[in-house]
Subunit: 450 residues, 2 copies
Amino acid sequence: MDESPDASESGDAHGISMPEICREVGDEAEFVHPADMADHLENLSLEKQVCALRHMTTEDAAEALAELDGNVAVDVLENLDADVAAQIIAEMAPDDAADVLDELDEEHRDVLLEKLTKEDSEELRNLLNFDPDSAAGAMNTELILLEKALTVDEAIAHIRREMEDDKESPYYGYVVDEKDVLVGVLSLRDLMLARPGTIVGDAAAGQSVISVTYDTDKREVASLLSHYNFLAMPVVDYEGHIMGVVTYDDIMDIMHEEASADMLGMVGADPEESVDTPWTESVRKRLPWLMVNLFNSALSASVVYMFEGTIAQMAVLAVLMPMVANQAGNTGQQALAVMIRQLATDRFDQKKAWMAVLREGKIGIVTGLFMAVTAFLGAWWFTGNHLVGAVMGGALLCDMILGAVAGGSIPLIFRAVGRDPAQASSIFLTTITDGAGFFIFLGLATLFIF
Amino acid sequence: MDESPDASESGDAHGISMPEICREVGDEAEFVHPADMADHLENLSLEKQVCALRHMTTEDAAEALAELDGNVAVDVLENLDADVAAQIIAEMAPDDAADVLDELDEEHRDVLLEKLTKEDSEELRNLLNFDPDSAAGAMNTELILLEKALTVDEAIAHIRREMEDDKESPYYGYVVDEKDVLVGVLSLRDLMLARPGTIVGDAAAGQSVISVTYDTDKREVASLLSHYNFLAMPVVDYEGHIMGVVTYDDIMDIMHEEASADMLGMVGADPEESVDTPWTESVRKRLPWLMVNLFNSALSASVVYMFEGTIAQMAVLAVLMPMVANQAGNTGQQALAVMIRQLATDRFDQKKAWMAVLREGKIGIVTGLFMAVTAFLGAWWFTGNHLVGAVMGGALLCDMILGAVAGGSIPLIFRAVGRDPAQASSIFLTTITDGAGFFIFLGLATLFIF
C-alpha cells in the first residue's frame, strides 16, 4: 500500500509500527549471546523474527540463524529478501550454512546460491552433495593447514592471520605435505611450547594421526571424538587428503540427536521428532509403526484365541494373563535399554556382546525367581487354587527369562542384519513377551488345571 | 614363593613370566593414545592390568587410569602398591583423581590421600566433599587465572609458563580482580589477536560473563555448555569467586550418562547401569521397580476381575483386550519419549510444556481414529459381531488418546513434584493405559453387547 520506494527498500512496507518493534529486538542483540538471541527469536512471531534479523548486523544474524531450530530457520530465510538472506548465509560457517540450506526447498536454495560468490556457492553445493549423516555432511571446511616445511614461528604467524579472518576452529593446525595429505596435528599448545625455529613437520613427526574418512557415519565420529577427548576430528578422503574437520560443538549436537534417536526409535517414533515437529508430520511418521504394533499384537492375541475354551471355563485366567506379559515386557525393556545405550557409547566385540546377553539371562533368572514366588503366593491367595498359583509362577519365570534374553539380543540381531539397533525394538520385544507369556500361561493352565 | 627381595620389590613376586608380559603391555603404551590403552587394559586380567600400570611412566598410567571404567579403575588401584597408586593419583587431573577416589572405599582412599603432598590431598578432600552430581563435583581446579591489571603480553607469557606445568584446560584465561572474583573470560584467540600492551581487564570489559554456581546440577551445566558452544564453563561461589571449570570432555561424558539415565530410568533400571555392572547389583537395583510393576499390573488386573462374568460369557473379549492396552501403551510411550528427550535438551516454560501435551493429544486423536477404524473392521470380521467391532474401536480410540496425553504429561508432573521426569515413567504409563484400556473395553462390552 505504501508506495514510497524509500520505505519499501528498508523493509518497512508492512506498517508504521514494525520498524520500532524490530529495532527494539535488534538493539538487544548487541548484549546477548547468539544462542540466547536464537531462543528469544524462537518465541517471536515470524514477522518479528524476519524484521529482527534484518536489523541486526550480518555477523549477529549469521550466528543467531545458525542457532535457530531448523524449521524456524527455514521459515525466516524464505521470508527474508533474498539479498539479505544470501548475505547472512555467506557470513555463516560453511557447515552451518549447508545445514540450513539442506532444509530449504530446492527452488529457494538455488536462488540463494546464485547470489553468493562463485567460490562460496561451489563450496556449499559441494557440502550439500554429501550424506548429511556422514562425517563430510557434518564437517567444517574452514581449517588451518600448515605446510610441513614451515617453522613453528611461521606457523603461529600464519594462524594469527587466519584467525583474523574468523575461522571457526583454530583448535589445531593440520600439518600437510605438498599434496595436502594430512601428516600430523599440532595443537596451539604444541606450537606455543615448541622451540622457535623447529620445523612443523619435525614437531609432528612420529605421530599416528587419528582421522576419519569422509563417508564415516557421524555417530561414529562422535563416538571417536568423545573417546579421544579431541576438540576436532580431521576428515580425509581415501588418499589421505584433508577435506575438513568435525568440531566438538557439532559433536555435542550429534550426541543429543543420537540419544533422542535411540529413545524415540525404540518405541517407533521418528528419530528426529521433537515437540517442535508439526503434529501432522508426527502422525504420518508414527502411524506405520502403530500399524506394525497392531499387527504384532494381533499375533499375540491369536495365541490367546487358541485357548478361548480354557478361558471360557476359567475366566480368572484372563485376569492374571496380562500380568505375566506385562512383567516380562518390563524385564525385557530393562535389558533392551542397557544394550541400546551400550551400543551407542561403546564399540564392543562379538564376545563381549554375547557375554552381555548371558548377563541379562542371569538377571532374568534371579529376578524371575523372586517374582515367580511372589506371583505364586499372590495368585494362590487370590484364587484359592494352588495350581493356578503354580501356573502363574511358572509362566512368569519362563517369560521373564525369555524377555531378558530377547531384550538383550534384539539390538544385537538388528545390528547384525544392518538395521538400526534401536528402531522399533520395543515393539518387537513386546510381541515376543506377550505372545510367549500368553502361550506359556494358558498352555500350562490347559495342561495342569483341567 | 620367590623370596628374593629384589624380585618382590620390583613387583615380580608372582612368577617368572609376569615381568615380560607387563613390559610387553607397557612398551605398547608409548605408541597408543591413553584412551585406546585404557580399552586395551580393560580386556586384560587384573594381574596384567596392575603389572602394566606399574611399568608405564607415571604420566601414561595417570592418563590411562582416568580413561578406565570406574569399576576397573578401583580394582586396579586397590591392587597396586599404595606408593605407586599415590604417585599416579598425584599426576592425574584433580577432577579425574577425585572421581576415581570417590569410588574407592574410605579406608583405601585415606591411605592414598595420606601419601600425597598436603596441598594435593587437601584439594582432593575438598573436591570429594562436593556432590558428585554438582558443577563442583565435575569441575577441574587447574585453571589459568589472569589478574585484570596484566597486559596481554604478560598474560600470554603467563599462560605459556602455566602450560608447561601441563594444565588440563588452557582454552580460556579467566580474568579476576584482586579478590579472585571472576570478571571476564578471554580465549587464546582473543589474547593472540589483541593489540600488544592492552590491559587484560580492558580487553574483557563489557563482557556479561556466563558462569555457574558450584551447586548447579551437572546436567544443567552440560545443557548450558552445549547451548553456548563453550569449551569450558567457569564455576563460582555465591560471591563470584572462581572455583574451577567444567570442561567439554567432562560434559561429553555427562551427556552420555544423561542419555543413558533417561532411557534406563524410564523402564526402572538404575540410571548408571551398563553391561559392565556386576549382574548381582543389577538384580538388586531392578527388583524394586519390578515389584512396583507387579503391584501396578495387579491393579489393572483387578479391573479385569470386575468383569470376570462378562469374560466368562464371551471369552473372545480376553483375546482382544490385550490389543487395546498394548496399542495405547505404545502410543503413550511415543509421547513419553518425545517429552523426556525435550526435557533433557531444552529448558521449556510452562506454556510450551502444555502446548506439547496438547500436541500429543491431537496426535492421539488422529492416530487413534485410524487405528479404531482398522480395529473395528478387523474385530467385526474376526468375530462376525459388529458390536464387538464397535466396542473394540471405541475403546481403542479412548485409550489411545488417554495414552498420548498421559505419556506427554507424566514427565511434566514428575518434574513439577521434584522427581526425575524419566524415572519409572514407562511403568506408570503402562498401569494407566492397561487399567483404562481394560476398563473401557470390558465396560463398553458389558453395556452394549449383552
